[in-house]
Symmetry: C2
C-alpha cells in the first residue's frame, strides 16, 4: 500500500499526540504545523510525558511546517488534513480559512474537535471533500512544549451527514485513516468506528456545554461549585435543557448520562479547558459548544431559559477577553453622547475592530 | 429643642458624607464609627472633594468611635442610629448584630442601604424601634480616606411597613431626622419625604438587580456590555422580570423607567459598585439586591428564568470571593472519594468554615 501524506494542524496536546501516534504506527508521512513554538521544536523537540508512550525527552515530528501555507508549498498534496485546533468561528480565523491553503480535491478532512454543527461551514467551504468526525478521549495538554498525556489515545471516528458524499466513499476514507492511525497494540491507541456521530457529539455536549461554560463564567472548578450546591441550582437544569435540544434532533439522552458526568470528577477539583482559556485571556469555543445548540433549540422551539442566559453572559466574557487581548479596542470618545441602543450599530459600522 | 445624639455606622462614601451633612447643619451631636481607618482619621481626618461642599483637606467628625460597642460605652444613648454599611446577611455579621450594642428603647434606626426586605430581619431583631428607609442619591466613594462626592446629597426618607409602630410615631421620627439632616440651603443637601417607600426601592432595584449583578458576573462596565448588545440579550429581559415581581407586589413600574435606566449612563462606561466589590474580592449585596426579590417571585409565582440563573451564577461568584478572601477554606482531601451530590451536606456539617 502507498504511504499517505498526513498534515496535522494544531500543535496543542491533542495535535502533538496525534502526530506521535501516526508516526509510531509508521504507515504514513506526517507533517505537523507548529506556529509560535517552531524554532524551539526544531531545536529541542517536545518533552512528552505519556501514560502509554512513557517519557520521550526530545520528540520531533518527521516534518514540521511553520504554517499551513508553508506545508502546502511545492504542490504537496495531503491525503488527510487532521484539524486539532480549537474551533472558534468568532475568532481571528475560521477553521475553513486555517486549512484552505492545503486543501486539494483528494484531501480527507478529519475534525478532531468538540462541538455541534462544526461540519456545516466546512462542507460549505469544501463541498466535495470527505469530512470525518474525530472525538478524542486522550486527555493531553501542551504547556511550553511539555506534553502531559493522562489517558490512552482513544479516537471515536465517525461520518458527518454530507449530501454530496456517499456513505461508501466516507466509510472507505474512514477505514483508510483507521488503518494508518490504529496501533496494533490497542493499549497504546485505539480507533473506535463510530456509527452514531450525532449521539456521540450530543452526549459529549452534556458535559462541555454545561461544565465548561459555567465554570468559565464564574471562575471556579467543578467540585467547588458542587460544594456550593451547583448540581441542583445550575448543572442539572442546564443538562436537562441540552438533552431536550438533543431529543428535538432525535437523540434521546438518558438521565443516567447526566448523573455519570455529574460524578465523573468527584473529588478531582477539575478545571475544564474553557475555564483555563478564560483565565489565560484566550478565546473560548462558545459558538460550537453552546451557540450552535441554541440555534437548533430556537429552530425546534425548545425552551432554554438557563442555557440562553449562560450563553449571553459567556458572550460578554468572550467580549471582555477580546478587549483584554487587544483584538477589540473601544474608543470611549466615540460613544460620548451616543444612545446605548445604537451601540451595536456603531460597532458594526466602525472601521476595523477599533470601536 | 434638644440636640439629639446620632451614631453613624459605616464610614464609606455615604457614611462620611452623612456625618458631614449632620455636622454642617449642626442640630445634633454626631459620632462616626470608623474601624480600619481609625488611627489615620484621628490623625489626619478625611480629604473631602465634594461637588457641593468643595474641598475640605482634613475633616474630622466631632466624635469618632472604633466600634459600635465603644460608641455605646458609658450608657450613651443615641436618638438615631444611621446604618450606611453594605447589607450582606451572608457575610461575617448581619446588620442587626452590627448595630445591636448601641440600640436602646429610644433608638430610631435609619437604614441608608439598597435592597428589598432589608427591614424584615431588623424589625424582628428590634420589634419596638422605629426603622426608617433612607435611599441616598449622593454618589460618593471613600478610597483610602479620600472622599469623592459627585452629586448633591439627596436623601429619600420613608417609612417601612411595621405592624408594631403606628404611622404617626414613624412620621414624627422621620420629621425629626429631616429637621436635623436637611440643610437650609437645599443646594447642599435635601431630604425628600417619601410616602411610597416600596415603589422607591423597587424602582431602584430595576437598576441595581440588573446592572450590578450582570456587570459583576462578567467583569465589564455597563456601556461595554451595551456595545456588545446586552440591552436586548440581558438587560431588558432582566428588567422585565424585576418589574413583573414588583407588579406582583402591587407596584407597577412603567417601561419608561427601564429605558431611563438603560440610557442614564450612556457614554460613561460606569462600573457599578458590585462590579468594583467583586474585583476587589469583597463580598457583594447579592441577597438584598437579588435573592430577596426572587424569594418574593417564588412566593407569588412569577417566572424569573433570567434573574434566577443570574442569581445562581452570582452566588458562585460570591462563593469564589469567600474562598479568595480566606473566609472559606476548602480542604480538598476531605472530598476525595466523596459523592458530589453529598457535597452541600458535608459543607453544612463541617466544623467552622473549613470545608
Amino acid at each position: 500500500m502507498s504511504r499517505p501524506k498526513v498534515l496535522v494542524v494544531g500543535s496543542g496536546g491533542v495535535g502533538v499526540m496525534s502526530a506521535l501516534g501516526l508516526t509510531t504506527v509508521d504507515k504514513s508521512d506526517v507533517t505537523l504545523v507548529v506556529r509560535s513554538d517552531y524554532d524551539r521544536v526544531m531545536q529541542h523537540g517536545y518533552y512528552i510525558k505519556s501514560r502509554t508512550y512513557g517519557e520521550i525527552k526530545a520528540w520531533k515530528p518527521p516534518k514540521i511546517a511553520r504554517s499551513v501555507k508553508e506545508a502546502a508549498e511545492n504542490n504537496v498534496e495531503y491525503d488527510f488534513i487532521v484539524l486539532t485546533t480549537k474551533n472558534i468561528p468568532d475568532g481571528a480565523m475560521t477553521c475553513e480559512d486555517i486549512i484552505r491553503p492545503a486543501v486539494t480535491a483528494k484531501s480527507v478532512i478529519v475534525l478532531v474537535q468538540n462541538g455541534i454543527l462544526i461540519e456545516e461551514p466546512m462542507i460549505k467551504a469544501f463541498p466535495h471533500n470527505v469530512i470525518l468526525s474525530g472525538v478524542s478521549l486522550i486527555g493531553s495538554s501542551n504547556i511550553d512544549c511539555v506534553i502531559n498525556n493522562s489517558h490512552k489515545d482513544t479516537l471515536k471516528l465517525g461520518l458527518f451527514d454530507n449530501p454530496n458524499i456517499s456513505p461508501e466513499v466516507g466509510k472507505a476514507a474512514r477505514e483508510e485513516y483507521r488503518r494508518i492511525y490504529q496501533n496494533d497494540d490497542i493499549n497504546i491507541n485505539n480507533v473506535i468506528l463510530d456509527d452514531d456521530t450525532k449521539r456521540t457529539r450530543w452526549e459529549k455536549l452534556v458535559y462541555n456545554s454545561v461544565f465548561n461554560t459555567i465554570t468559565a463564567i464564574v471562575g471556579l472548578d467543578i467540585n467547588s461549585l458542587q460544594i456550593n450546591g451547583a448540581n441542583d441550582t445550575l448543572f442539572r437544569p442546564a443538562m436537562k435543557e441540552i438533552s431536550a435540544i438533543a431529543a428535538s434532533e432525535g437523540v434521546e439522552i438518558p438521565t443516567s448520562v447526566h448523573e455519570f458526568f455529574l460524578h465523573i470528577g468527584d473529588g478531582l477539583f477539575y478545571k475544564p479547558s474553557m475555564l483555563v482559556d478564560v483565565r489565560k485571556k484566550q478565546l473560548c469555543e462558545i459558538e460550537v459548544i453552546l451557540g450552535n445548540p441554541l440555534k437548533i433549540a430556537a429552530r425546534n422551539g425548545v425552551p432554554t431559559p438557563v442555557l440562553s442566559t449562560v450563553y449571553h453572559l459567556l458572550s460578554m466574557v468572550q467580549f471582555r477577553t477580546k478587549i483584554d487581548n487587544g483584538s477589540i479596542k473601544i474608543d470611549q470618545e466615540l460613544f460620548r453622547g451616543q444612545d446605548s441602543d445604537k451601540f451595536p450599530e456603531i460597532f458594526a459600522a466602525s472601521p476595523g475592530s477599533r470601536i
